[in-house]
């Protein structure tokens, strides 16, 4: 077993190695062929290959020395739009003499930029289009202002299918010589959905105990890594204690930093496991879907999820009355 983070070690280097997002990969390959890249927005949930896609694109586009033509910034770490502007200006000055006249800037977590910063970014994008192409990465494209959206080619990344995830994990398992039972592999998909980064992290953490991995090993790792208990929060809400449930929600979002998209996905999974009348499950799924959509559009996570919890409290009350 190797002693670094496997999620990084096994990150695909080239578009050809990516195991999923087939349509997206095809479009990106066509950019490589055409030797031109438009500004892009890569939107989608965590662990679905957005950053990897951008890095692979740059790699295939410029070849082995691609690092020289690429800059990675993170909107939530870097000190605002000034850093972006200065970096792009420097790019412009050191314009490459080679075949391709522009460089690539990957701007991660772009949906965390304020409206003003985005307006400034838009001007920078326009001014330096000749020398720099932007790939904006975000969870929710709805949080990007419309003028930027209209200047970018949109790509929507989706969660990996079960088959794709298995194929990838099996590759890692073989390389790292991990003993894995089928039930363990199933459990990883069950808890991580199609979030590949989380799946690989879970795999590595489970493997670190040095025993063959079964379903229990996986559940134990997940329990230790995610102290927030979504199922319990739903129970509290349905029992009628909305305030208690909202407190748990706050803990998840503010203390443990869980993403709203993760929480809502887990709520969706859990609802179908609850012992409640079947027709209620589908009613609630509709509500969950609506809230999920609002989050994608960029609404406030706590406020939206609270509305969902209030609906669960109401549902619990109505079920008790036999409605």
């Amino acid at each position: 077993m190797s002693y670094e983070m496997w999620a990084e070690k096994y990150r695909p280097k080239s578009l050809g190695e990516m195991v999923n997002q087939k349509e997206i990969v095809e479009r990106l390959k066509s950019f490589v062929k055409a030797k031109n890249i438009p500004h892009c927005i890569f939107a989608g949930p965590p662990g679905t290959g957005k950053t990897t896609g951008a890095l692979c694109l740059a790699h295939d586009f410029y070849g082995e020395g691609y690092r020289e033509h690429l800059m990675e910034l993170n909107a939530s770490d870097e000190r605002g739009i000034n850093v972006v502007r200065e970096t792009v200006k420097t790019f412009a000055r050191t314009r490459s003499v080679g075949e391709i006249p522009f460089k690539i800037m990957i701007l991660d977590e772009a949906d965390n930029m304020t409206g003003d910063a985005q307006q400034a970014l838009r001007r920078t994008m326009e001014r330096f289009t000749e020398t720099c192409r932007f790939i904006l990465i975000c969870n929710y494209s709805g949080k990007i202002i419309e003028p930027i959206q209209s200047r970018c080619a949109p790509f929507r990344f989706t969660y990996l299918s079960r088959e794709d995830q298995y194929a990838y994990l099996r590759h890692v398992i073989q390389k790292e010589n991990v003993k894995m039972l089928d039930e363990g592999l199933n459990a990883i998909f069950e808890v991580c959905g199609g979030d590949l980064r989380r799946a690989v992290n879970t795999l590595q953490a489970a493997a670190s105990a040095g025993k063959p991995i079964n379903a229990d090993t996986v559940y134990s790792v997940v329990g230790r890594a995610n102290p927030a208990d979504v199922r319990n929060m739903i129970e509290v809400a349905m029992k009628g204690d909305f305030v208690g449930a909202r407190e748990k929600l706050r803990e998840m979002i503010l203390k443990y930093g869980l993403a709203g998209s993760d929480i809502i996905r887990q709520i969706h999974i859990e609802i179908f496991r609850f012992n409640i009348p079947e027709r209620w499950k589908i009613k609630l799924a509709d509500t969950i879907g609506e809230i999920d959509f609002r989050l994608v559009q960029g609404a406030d996570e706590e406020v939206q999820l609270s509305a969902l919890l209030a609906r669960l409290t109401e549902a619990g009350y109505e079920m008790k009355r036999g409605v």
């Binding site: 993170n74 419309e146 670190s208 993403a259 809230i291 960029g298 609404a299 209030a310 409290t313």
Partner: protein, 420 residues
């Protein structure tokens, strides 16, 4: 952005802290005695009513004496296991950077167990082995659960400050916020707070934020009610209005920042609308208001603000259909703001580690802390060899390893592996 004044204007140094000089002297001489070796009592137990500045006192002390303060509050150590996690921290006086360390266990009232069982026993164990000053804080030191614990502690009582002292602090806040405040107005706020500085500052913020002047008339109505009833007519209007027009009028008469008002309504809706069906309607109205806020952000079309107002006032008001009248329900300060201020130190350490992860793994430090760190923690607890490899790969320092691995023997094992 809306920041709580209790956080923004928290005293940073001893000279800024309100009252309790006696308690301070006791505390300072105890801490100084550590320079001459480990004293008989390795812990100080600060107790007293809420809002008299216990936590602030310790933070200011650490600041003035240039000590590293490791702060933990109830949510971090409710159980024995959780206490064990950081007990190792207390076994060292000097940090890697040569600063002296002080451990603060805040909100001890929230801990479980008794002297022979659970979290309290672990705290006693931690104190017995402590090599740096440990400070405990609770409202009531004479809780029977703490009877054994008390024997190991220097007891320091914090008393309520005087009205004049509270006023002095309010004046300072007003000066910084550039508010001209009438002396009588501040006196009334101080009196009504029951000499609780924190709640006095909260009330001041609620009454004065965004204003240039605060006259006695602005706060006079406080005098007519119990301080728990310090609420804004606005909230009352919203939650009890009978029709749209009445509810919407709240906005015109409000004179408060709409974002702040939203937080107040959002916080209080579940307490005001106790019927589950009413509450679901109200929360949905607020969520819809929030959707419009999002649209304003995306399009910068501020004309949409009217729909935000409609939903957060009339939308909430008309949700009241079935809730049974239950007499007066006090309004509450938005908790969400307070949440953000908590566990600050924890987040700072996570950020530092997040930066290290970020250098290697193409994620932001925030993302790293929430999505990757939890798994690294599991590895650190289970496999010292792999942990050492990862620590080297990420270039983590000893404090970081200690924070992640939690228990001291595992830290040693990891560091040993680092050497080989």
């Amino acid at each position: 952005m809306y920041a709580a004044w209790t956080v923004k204007h928290k005293p940073r140094t001893i000279s800024e802290v309100v009252g309790n000089e006696e308690a301070f002297q006791k505390l300072v001489s105890w801490i100084n005695s550590w320079n001459k070796g480990i004293p008989k009592k390795r812990a100080a137990f600060l107790y007293g009513p809420p809002g008299v500045g216990k936590t602030v006192a310790v933070e200011a002390l650490a600041h003035d004496l240039k000590m590293e303060l490791v702060e933990k509050n109830a949510s971090d150590y409710r159980t024995a296991e959780a206490v064990k996690r950081f007990a190792g921290l207390a076994s060292q006086y000097a940090t890697l950077f040569g600063d002296k360390r002080m451990i603060l266990l805040d909100e001890l009232d929230g801990i479980t167990g008794t002297a022979d069982r659970g979290g309290v026993r672990e705290v006693i164990e931690t104190i017995k082995n402590a090599r740096c000053p440990v400070v405990l804080i609770a409202n009531n030191a004479y809780d029977p659960r703490f009877s054994t614990l008390r024997k190991y502690c220097l007891l320091v009582e914090f008393k309520k400050p005087t009205i004049l002292q509270v006023m002095k602090h309010l004046k300072k806040v007003c000066a910084i916020e550039e508010i001209m405040a009438d002396e009588r107005a501040l006196r009334l706020i101080a009196e009504r707070s029951g000499r609780d500085v924190r709640s006095a500052v909260n009330d001041l913020q609620a009454l004065a934020q965004g204003r240039r002047q605060l006259a006695y008339e602005d706060v006079a109505w406080l005098a007519e009610r119990d301080r728990k009833e310090v609420i804004f007519n606005v909230l009352r209007t919203i939650f009890y209005a009978r029709d749209c027009a009445e509810a919407k009028r709240a906005i015109d008469t409000a004179d408060v920042d709409p974002d702040m008002l939203f937080q107040w309504v959002y916080e209080n809706a579940p307490y005001q609308l106790t019927d589950a069906r009413d509450l679901a309607k109200a929360m949905e109205a607020l969520a819809r208001a929030d959707v419009y806020r999002g649209r304003i952000r995306a399009t910068q079309d501020w004309a949409l603000l009217r729909y935000v107002f409609d939903l957060m006032t009339a939308g909430v008001a008309l949700s009241r259909q079935r809730t049974k009248p239950s007499g007066w329900v006090p309004f509450r300060f938005p908790e969400r703001v307070r949440w953000l201020a908590r566990s600050k130190q924890e987040r700072e350490m996570q950020k530092l580690i997040g930066m290290k992860i970020r250098r290697r793994m193409h994620v932001s430090s925030v993302q790293a802390a929430k999505e990757i760190l939890p798994y690294i923690r599991v590895i650190f607890e289970d496999n010292a060899e792999m942990a050492a490899g990862i620590a080297k790969w990420l270039d983590l320092d000893e404090d970081m390893i200690r924070y992640i691995a939690g228990n001291e023997s595992q830290v040693k094992a990891i560091i040993k592996n680092l050497g080989s």
